[in-house]
């Protein structure tokens, strides 16, 4: 029987919600109580039920833990799963992103703080630094965002293993077309309003999240003020923020099958990090960002919380499920592509990451 799981990483542990019908949910946890879980990946490639978690203990540091049974039991490698090579004189702070590669079922990418990309070829157990990005001449100029300086977004391209896009705060979008050996800044059209002179620099933008529409390959980016679309694989970007209540936010999601269907979770302003008008909501577009409409049925009004960069996810069911978690520890689920939501968890610590998938 197919089971939907929603992995919920928080400041103080990981919870997992399970359902066989996406209406009745059972919540399990916590795993890793008192450790921060900033990244999760559910790896269903080749029928697997693996879950990977980037876990950071306040005392005992960061690591990657692996579950092969859908998040019920976990294994930590005796040796460090992910660490910087000695010659870098750098220590890992946090794993912010774990991304299974759609082109190679053994490869998992990890985006970390400080700004770096790692690659695993054994399904996420051990990782090696991607030197091409680490040695990039721009790296000394990348600045930390409020959440730290990190590669937080990794976007492979199905069918093109040599194509890879990453985003970082605050450095912007970088693109490789040779499997990660060389990288180019790829921010034309993305505005860095906070820069005093040139608001369209080659790099330095604070891109919060990039998502790829799997049906048509379009890329969508939520920036620190600014929402964008790229139809040329990130070479150029154009604004799609006009129909939104605000251009600030952290996350963006793209439909796995239907071209042009994208969800944005707006935040009132960078100085007022609450839902617009204090109504928790998602904004949905069915035409690639030309028009937007609010979806808020089941989401609370008088809400002063916030949905962070990775705290939203889609599943791949038909209709697609939409999931979001808040900084005040609520998690909401929609089984009808955002038309209505129900609360599936409450009173958790701040939600940092939500990942949904079908197992089995």
């Amino acid at each position: 029987m197919t089971e939907t799981i929603v992995a919920i990483g928080t400041r103080k542990g990981l919870w997992i919600a399970r359902s066989t019908d996406r209406r009745e949910w059972a919540l399990e946890g916590p795993h890793f109580l008192m450790s921060e879980v900033a990244s999760v990946a559910v790896d269903t490639r080749e029928g697997r039920s693996s879950v990977l978690a980037g876990v950071k203990s306040w005392h005992w540091g960061p690591t990657v833990q692996v579950s092969s049974d859908g998040g019920r039991t976990w294994t930590e490698s005796a040796e460090r799963a992910l660490s910087f090579p000695t010659d870098t004189d750098t220590a890992l702070e946090r794993v912010w992103q774990l991304t299974p590669d759609p082109n190679d079922s053994d490869v998992v990418w990890a985006g970390v703080e400080p700004h770096a990309l790692f690659r695993s070829t054994d399904r996420g157990k051990r990782y090696e630094l991607v030197r091409g990005l680490w040695d990039h001449p721009h790296r000394p100029s990348w600045e930390p965002g409020f959440g730290g300086g990190a590669v937080h977004t990794i976007v492979p391209e199905p069918g093109h293993p040599e194509h890879l896009l990453v985003a970082m705060s605050a450095g912007g979008v970088y693109r490789s077309e040779d499997g990660g050996n060389t990288w180019e800044a790829s921010n034309p059209g993305i505005r860095a309003y906070f820069m005093p002179d040139n608001e369209y620099p080659e790099f330095g933008q604070c891109v919060h999240k990039v998502a790829r529409g799997q049906a048509d390959g379009a890329l969508y980016a939520q920036n620190h003020k600014g929402v964008y679309r790229s139809d040329d694989n990130g070479h150029t970007w154009e604004s799609i923020a006009d129909g939104l209540p605000t251009d600030f936010g952290f996350t963006i999601l793209a439909h796995p099958r239907r071209p042009g269907v994208v969800w944005n979770i707006p935040v009132q302003d960078d100085g007022e990090r609450i839902p617009p008008g204090a109504q928790l909501q998602v904004q949905r577009s069915d035409d690639g960002g030309a028009h937007w409409r609010m979806q808020a049925d089941g989401l609370p009004a008088d809400s002063y919380t916030c949905v962070l960069r990775d705290a939203a996810s889609l599943d791949e069911s038909d209709p697609v499920g939409v999931y979001l978690g808040t900084r005040n520890g609520d998690v909401f689920a929609s089984a009808d592509e955002g038309e209505s939501f129900q609360r599936i968890a409450t009173q958790l610590p701040d939600v940092l990451v939500v990942r949904a998938a079908q197992l089995g």
């Binding site: 306040w58 005392h59 005992w60 540091g61 005796a78 660490s83 750098t90």
Partner: protein
């Protein structure tokens, strides 16, 4: 000639990772060794502990303390601090968090 062994006492939070072991006795090859050398020996049979106590540069993690005979080595020479033969070394988690 080996000298009196050093006793490394683990905090409760780490004991579960090594089957409940509370203390590791480390043979001391000389009259004195550094904290780094001591931890290399202590963790050779318990590799998971190394990543918990030290980062990949070999430095003691920010919220971990190492006391050598009651003195906080992390306030002094850190991993270069001397550990005399027969010493008692406590690894503790700092009182921090929220």
């Amino acid at each position: 000639m080996p000298s009196a062994p050093v006793r490394v006492i683990l905090p409760g939070m780490l004991r579960d990772l090594v089957g409940g072991v509370a203390e590791i006795e480390v043979e001391s090859p000389t009259e004195s060794q550094t904290v780094a050398e001591l931890l290399d020996r202590a963790f050779s049979g318990h590799r998971v502990l190394d990543g918990k106590v030290r980062d990949e540069r070999g430095q003691i993690r920010r919220h971990v303390k190492v006391f050598v005979n009651g003195e906080d080595a992390t306030r002094g020479a850190g991993v270069g601090a001397a550990v005399p033969a027969g010493a008692r070394v406590h690894i503790i988690n700092a009182v921090s968090g929220g």
